[in-house]
Subunit: 247 residues, 2 copies
């Protein structure tokens, strides 16, 4: 089974790859680790496959590139090697119960660069876990934003995407977050109170969400305390073993 952690810089992809991997190993599974981040300096886990063997952002910056240009350039330079990386991941998957993929630091590198799109197209039904942090959820329309952003990832990568609120150990009102993320009737009733054009757009989008979104359960995770890891394990199992029904 291939699990891919996608999210913005700081959303906890690397930490959860590490701690969820340890959790699976404790459960008795064999786990392979893949690092796709050319910019990371240190990893808490030992990757079986690591794109930094081909190129790093740091060495490109030494050629005079700025950090943004160097990030893009590093994935341009990975492109001639993509078939090799796909083969390596497929080989790893055959030998392990789980393969955990830690994606580039900046989400756009994976969503917009051909490297991410091509790679995901060539893996067998990888499940994507879209990690977002509590700090992006400030207003009702932000909940609508993350729900649709998960659909955007699904649309772009063609992979079933599970939205996951990470860092729940930092949250004291988890039930409120859950209500906004899961109860679309409640969320739209709150959005209705916002008469701005932004509120109206959010209202329209969220009214439509139940029609367009594949049935999906939302995860609440903590890479720190291991909260929700059992749910993540269950959802991965269901994705691979019960034909993708993630309700």
């Amino acid at each position: 089974m291939i699990l891919t952690f996608v999210g913005t810089a700081g959303s906890g992809k690397t930490t959860i790859t590490h701690t969820f991997g340890k959790y699976l190993e404790k459960e008795g599974y064999t786990v392979g680790y893949v690092n796709l981040d050319t910019g990371v300096k240190k990893l808490p886990y030992k990757p079986n496959i690591d794109v930094r063997e081909t190129v790093t952002v740091e060495e490109i910056m030494k050629e005079g590139y700025g950090p943004n240009g160097a990030i893009v350039e590093s994935y341009d330079r990975l492109m001639p090697h993509i078939e090799r990386y796909i083969t390596k991941i497929l080989e790893l998957e055959r030998g392990k119960d789980y393969v955990l993929i830690d994606t580039p630091g900046q989400i756009e590198t994976f969503l917009f660069h051909e490297f991410g799109v091509r790679l995901m197209e060539n893996l067998p039904a990888p499940l994507v876990v879209y990690l977002f942090s509590p700090e992006v959820l400030r207003k009702p329309h932000d909940y609508c934003f993350v729900r649709f952003f998960a659909l955007m990832i699904d649309l772009r990568l063609g992979s079933t995407t599970v939205p996951a609120l990470n860092k729940v150990d930092l949250v004291d009102n988890l039930e409120r977050h859950k209500q906004y993320l899961e109860d679309m009737e409640y969320l739209t009733s709150r959005l209705k109170l916002d008469s701005s054009t932004q509120g109206l757009l959010a209202y329209k989008l969220c009214t439509f969400l139940p029609e367009v979104s594949p049935p999906v359960r939302i995860l609440y995770l903590s890479a720190k305390t291991g909260e929700g890891f059992d749910d993540l394990e269950t959802i991965a199992y269901e994705h691979y073993c019960t034909c993708g029904d993630l309700t």
Copy 2:
């Protein structure tokens, strides 16, 4: 009038800020330039306001951060100065016909970090131009992706967002791109042929697009040849002077 260029690294934000600014100056307007990218090394224009006066990604990397961590950290360090930057931009706007804002290299820094969201909330009706490159448009569902991504920016930043295909000088089949981007009936008819779950999701989303999207014209720009600059000028004028009707 405030125009904000948003897009992924390499989509042409900095180049178009420069060349569209020159175009406006030639037309007789006064133009103010704002750089919000802490990671850029050299700018082709002289910014009136520049966040690099407060912090740069490069200096943070010297403290031992990797590039991704340093980008996030730079905007964390800008947060205590945000009110000052908002005041400066508002002052600049009072003295100029146009203010052009060049946003962070990585789009997620602007969409997910509080810096981008707070800044945009506090500017008077900034028009966002969402730049995307022809290379992200490979398959029918990619057109659906960029149309919805523009809505995501609108939803997150609360600012009217105009989708703009940039680098049209590199495109030889512009009419085909236009048809896919604008003719939703044509696009959905193509999407219907794709029976994958990705195709189905794209079909559902695009069927819904005309209902949810505010009326908007799509721009076709070339920062290199100046193609479409007259349309961009018109759309900015309409946004500010005719109550936001951008049809």
